[in-house]
């Protein structure tokens, strides 16, 4: 059997950029819905607010928990089932909190995207952002 012919493939952005290097900005694909720039700006700002909120939560979690261990040395001597509380704060407690932060962010971001799509006038069935 004849082996399939090998084709040189680059990422879509690279391909476009290579083809039109002399005209920067031309490599951008057109904006999909919401097509109007105002809508897209609002969507961007909404996502940025969400990202900022999640990052603040993240900073509060990791810096706050390590800060707690630093300012409350007594946590080293308070035990839960014999394990010092400060060890649990560093070794176990952060993980469920981090997961919760991420899940919450995904839910809020997706809800915001759904709302934007609805405003952009796109039929809900056409929801696919894969390109």
């Amino acid at each position: 059997m004849k082996p399939s012919r090998r084709v040189r493939v680059t990422s879509p952005q690279t391909r476009i950029a290579l083809a039109r290097r002399h005209r920067p900005g031309q490599h951008l694909l057109p904006l999909p819905a919401p097509a109007d720039v105002a809508g897209a700006r609002a969507a961007f700002r909404r996502q940025r607010r969400l990202a900022l909120a999640t990052m603040s939560g993240l900073a509060a979690t990791v810096l706050g928990m390590s800060g707690l261990v630093a300012v409350l040395p007594t946590l080293d001597h308070v035990g839960v089932a014999g394990v010092p509380l400060s060890w649990l704060l560093a070794g176990v407690a952060p993980y469920p909190l981090l997961l919760a932060l991420a899940v919450l962010h995904v839910r809020r971001a997706e809800r915001a995207e759904d709302a934007e799509r609805a405003e952009g006038g796109l039929a809900v069935d056409e929801r696919r952002d894969g390109r």
Binding site: S4, R6, R8, V9, T10, S11, Q13, T14, A17, P24, G25, H27, L28, L29, L31, P34, V37, A40, R41, A43, F44, Q47, R48, L50, A51, T54, M55, L58, V62, L63, M65, S66, G67, V69, A70, D76, G79, G82, V83, S86, W87, L89, A90, G91, P94, Y95, P96, L98, L99, A102, H105, V106, A109, E110, E113, D114, E116, G120, D129, R131
Partner: protein, 557 residues
């Protein structure tokens, strides 16, 4: 022997899964991003499998043993990094259509030169990250089979480059997913077993760090490096000038003692473990507080925060992490996959600390010899003597080897991408050559790096990523006014300061203090500096008129 069999089976299974993937690797798209035909579950497992490197499997337990509970924050930082990825980069990066960070740099700022600069930084980060992986592989093979360290490193290089050259990302994805399971099972099951089997007495000792650490049994330590020991209580030891020679009783008075490489000391059971200088006393106050007092600088909270900053923000800048999101079909799945990774990492990271904590009780001699990276592999035989112990050792060793295999495959792919996709134009034969070149360089650097702690190098890679690609991506994705000049200068300054600081801290010996801390873990100042540079210089210029379009495109659902 069991160890070789176990590692052999993991290798064989990986090769089989890899060969299954060979059929698919026909184009650059297959090679780098698996043509997006991987299910989200496998993808999350593969990402976790790739991310849990030798640093996590071997290094974390070793760090807990050597530097104490503060090193638990390393694992927290590694996981928190994925929250930042979910919140800031996963979705927009997937929408940008860029495979790699340099690709993204060109998309957002439209400059092939910036792409080349980013490509060079990718190479730097990947090498810093690859070298400790090869060190881990050489170490594990050395421990389970006694082969010289360099044989293990060379063998590992051959295996990894072969499987990548053949299969690319598609095969790597399945292999790495398989490796997550191997790592979790082979680390978690022995950990629980050891914890149960160690007995109430040893568990009590684990939880009572205030008690000075003592040798549980008569222990012979063969010193392979010159060491300065601080002895707190006079101890009678048997001292032999060289291995195999009869030891003479010698009384070590309290104070410092210099032990030359090659000497052999035998400590009686119950003798307190002496401290090598520069390492916190095992089980002492500093050791058991969960804060990272880097280089004994006396600023534990600043050290902890600087490390957390480097790891949390560094994760999003790691080229092999980013490339992964393009194996998802849509931006939404990319975000969800990243969330799945957090769950998988959280489960895994509960276990390395167990090895470190048990290691303090059962194998404290590793600290004397600066060989704490091997605690995970050596511990089972100490807790459970006999055949079962060697089976457990074999499992752990195979898990560690799996860690090495999957991480280094991912790293090599990203390295190959950096070499050929970003610096030259990409095609599959060139990618394959790039993989071989990358492996060769990493192996050559790993050969003399036997004494460097795995996590020192990995932490360095994270600090560089946090000071370069993190500001580039965050500002590129969320700030319209970023300009080409701002990004370029910021990248250059971030790379130079973070690389230079850690390099300086490894070659100089200064008195411990704020300066040593800021050199050893520079993220606390290099990350803000890189951000400030990019923002400041961008504000001086004006962005091109298509910048807003490029930005909005990243967030359009």
């Amino acid at each position: 022997m069991t160890g070789i069999v176990a590692i052999g089976s993991v290798l064989a299974a990986s090769l089989l899964i890899g060969i299954y993937g060979v059929r698919a690797a026909r184009s650059t798209s297959d090679f780098l991003i698996a043509s997006r035909k991987v299910s989200p579950r496998w993808n999350a497992m593969a990402i976790a499998g790739e991310y849990l490197s030798a640093a996590s499997v071997l290094g974390l337990a070793g760090l807990v043993l050597k530097n104490g509970l503060g090193t638990l924050w390393y694992a927290v930082g590694f996981t928190a990094g994925y929250v930042a990825v979910v919140a800031l980069v996963a979705g927009p990066m997937r929408r940008s259509g860029a495979f790699t960070v340099p690709d993204f740099a060109e998309y957002r700022l439209g400059s092939p030169r910036l792409r080349k600069l980013s490509g060079c930084i990718v190479l730097l980060i990947m090498l810093l990250y690859l070298v400790p992986q090869f060190k881990g592989a050489g170490l594990v093979l050395n421990l389970v089979s006694g082969t010289p360290y360099w044989v293990g490193v060379l063998l590992a290089g051959l295996v990894v480059s072969f499987s990548i050259v053949a299969g690319g990302m598609r095969s790597a994805t399945y292999v790495q997913g398989f490796h997550y399971l191997v790592k979790l099972a082979f680390l978690a099951v022995p950990a629980v077993y050891l914890l149960v089997h160690a007995g109430a007495d040893a568990r009590g000792e684990v939880l009572e760090p205030d008690r000075a650490t003592e040798f549980r049994a008569r222990t012979t330590v063969e010193f392979t490096i010159d060491t300065r020991l601080e002895v707190t209580e006079p101890t009678t030891v048997e001292r032999a000038p060289e291995r195999g020679e009869p030891g003479e009783p010698d009384r070590l008075a309290s104070g410092t003692h210099d032990i030359a490489s090659g000497e052999e000391l035998t400590f009686p059971a119950g003798a307190p473990v002496p401290e090598p200088t520069g390492v916190p006393q095992l089980g002492g106050e500093q050791w058991s507080r969960p804060l990272l007092d880097i280089e004994n600088s006396g600023h534990p909270l600043l050290g902890t925060w600087s490390t957390l900053l480097a790891l949390t923000l560094g994760a999003m800048g790691l080229p092999h992490v980013l490339m992964r999101f393009h194996t998802s079909p849509t931006a939404r799945t990319a975000r969800r996959v990243a969330t799945g990774v957090i769950a998988l990492l959280g489960v895994f990271y509960l276990f390395p600390a167990i090895y470190g904590l048990l290691g303090r009780v059962f194998t404290p001699q590793l600290v004397l010899n600066d060989a704490t990276d091997s605690v995970t592999v050596l511990l089972p035989a100490q807790v459970v003597p006999g055949a079962l112990g060697s089976v457990l050792t074999a499992l752990v060793a195979a898990g560690a080897f799996g860690a090495f295999l999957s991480t280094s495959s991912g790293l090599l792919l990203a390295l190959a991408g950096g070499l050929s996709h970003d610096l030259f134009s990409g095609s599959v034969p060139r990618l394959r050559v790039a993989v071989v070149v990358g492996t060769t360089v990493a192996v050559l650097i790993a050969l003399p790096a036997f004494r460097v702690d795995i996590n020192v190098l990995v932490g360095w890679a994270f600090a560089v990523a946090a000071s370069t690609f993190c500001p580039l991506l965050v500002l590129g994705i969320w700030w319209r006014r970023l300009t080409l000049t701002g990004a370029t200068v910021g990248l250059a300054i971030g790379a130079a300061t973070s690389t230079g600081a850690v390099a300086l801290s490894t070659v100089t010996t200064l008195d411990p203090g704020l300066l040593t801390l800021l050199l050893a873990q520079p993220a606390a100042w290099t990350v803000p500096l890189a951000f400030a540079t990019m923002i400041g210089i961008s504000l001086l210029g004006t962005e091109p008129d298509w910048a807003e379009h490029a930005l909005l495109r990243l967030h359009a659902p």
